[in-house]
Symmetry: C2
Subunit: 252 residues, 2 copies
């Protein structure tokens, strides 16, 4: 899926909702129920591999089954493997095969620490995306991401460097909602790239603020909500509908 | 296993060899053959999860079976999951459960990018280890690890900060053999910590140089060799024996 196609889906649905499929313990049937209930309100799904791995090979099988199901039942939804991998060349190739061949994800989240040759094998797949960690939403993001080299935070170095690796049809950035002023600085460093934004919902980021700081006229934004949808007391359908509804006015 | 116990094993065998179990395509029978042939010469095994994941759930099952086999057949060997994970608190907990509960690894490699709260859940397990990426062996390590903040490279910031998170019985660092002068700087920043050193063998790092720059009087060093053992024309037993033999004089 290209940037334009993904933005078209967002404006068509007036929603940039990405649903995090992080149900513990993992269950294909539960995933399927959440997917079918939220599909009309969401444009993307993002299972986090951690929840599947902790259930062992049966969990990994559940992940594969979930991906295959979404591909078949909801072919227009964008599929992100939240794996945060990062390893050297020949090993990175194996991870790329995992998420782009063995499973048919559109995108995978990666950590920048090891640099370009840990990312390159993923960029060699046409129509597939790298979602690179830049500014994460957790409190300890400040441990290293806020170190300042030549008056520029590490996370901005990551974005500036990665912008030279591929264009905005191949790479997007993770930028947390929990520090709105810094989210603005991410948008400035990547004015025409998709941002994948966690931290709205359970982590307390404001949807209004995120839209103000990070949405472009084209869209270019995916807002991930996991726990506040999959564990919602109102049920996933109603929770997703409410999130999408609060997004709608930004895409008219 | 404590630092002292691992160092005892190293001096007993006069070898700090860690064998990387990165056979592609993955096969439990092939792993078992490599393990049984190399066990007398090695103190540790390190499967890299990438190779198992690219074979899907069957690959993950092979990893679980391999770990269980080593635990049973070679209980004194140190077991490292080379996973390079890194995610926020509740997700990091799932990864910790994966490698320390579902599987019985002694240690897991982690990426520092997201900071302390991505590492903490792993440190809460007694007698388990975090192996934190500091200075990696790949060419693109320089993209971010060599950014200098207040005249100190990022990888040294990582070590200095992580030294405050746990003592040298809980944390060790990855430091590549491919840049010997920088390996020395890692040892200076972590004078009494174990270093896990990739890059000897296929990547061209010198064993002599690594020992000179990184070994302490206590030992505190694991040298990983993967391809040069598992794909050796001489066979894994002979290749591992040769590596161990060239290490022996440093532990007398």
């Amino acid at each position: 899926m290209t940037r334009q196609e993904l933005n078209n889906e967002i404006f068509k649905k007036r929603s940039c909702l990405c649903v995090g499929l992080d149900i513990s313990p993992v269950s294909f049937e539960k995933n399927k129920a959440v997917i079918d209930q939220t599909a009309p309100y969401a444009v993307a799904y993002k299972p986090n591999t951690a929840f599947y791995e902790s259930a062992g090979w049966e969990g990994w099988k559940c992940l594969e089954k979930t991906v295959a199901y979404i591909r078949k039942a909801w072919p227009n939804h964008f599929l992100i493997a939240d794996a945060k991998r990062g390893d050297i060349g020949n090993t990175a190739k194996e991870y790329a095969r995992t998420f782009f061949e063995r499973m048919d994800f559109d995108a995978v989240t990666l950590s920048p620490y090891m640099g370009y040759d840990s990312i390159k094998p993923f960029l060699e797949y046409k129509n597939k995306w790298v979602v690179l960690l830049a500014l994460t939403s957790n409190p300890s993001a400040e441990d290293f991401q806020f170190l300042s080299f030549e008056k520029k935070f590490l996370y901005k170095h990551v974005i500036d460097k990665a912008n030279t690796w591929a264009d905005n049809n191949r790479i997007m950035y993770v930028a947390g909602a929990t520090r709105p002023n810094l989210l603005r600085s991410v948008r400035e460093a990547a004015p025409n790239h998709f941002l994948l934004i966690p931290g709205v919902g359970a982590q307390g980021g404001s949807l209004e603020e995120v839209m103000k700081q990070a949405k472009t006229t084209d869209g270019d934004i995916l807002i991930n909500v996991s726990r506040a949808i999959v564990h919602s007391e109102k049920g996933p359908a109603e929770a997703a509908r409410a999130f999408a509804s609060s997004m709608a006015r930004f895409f008219s």
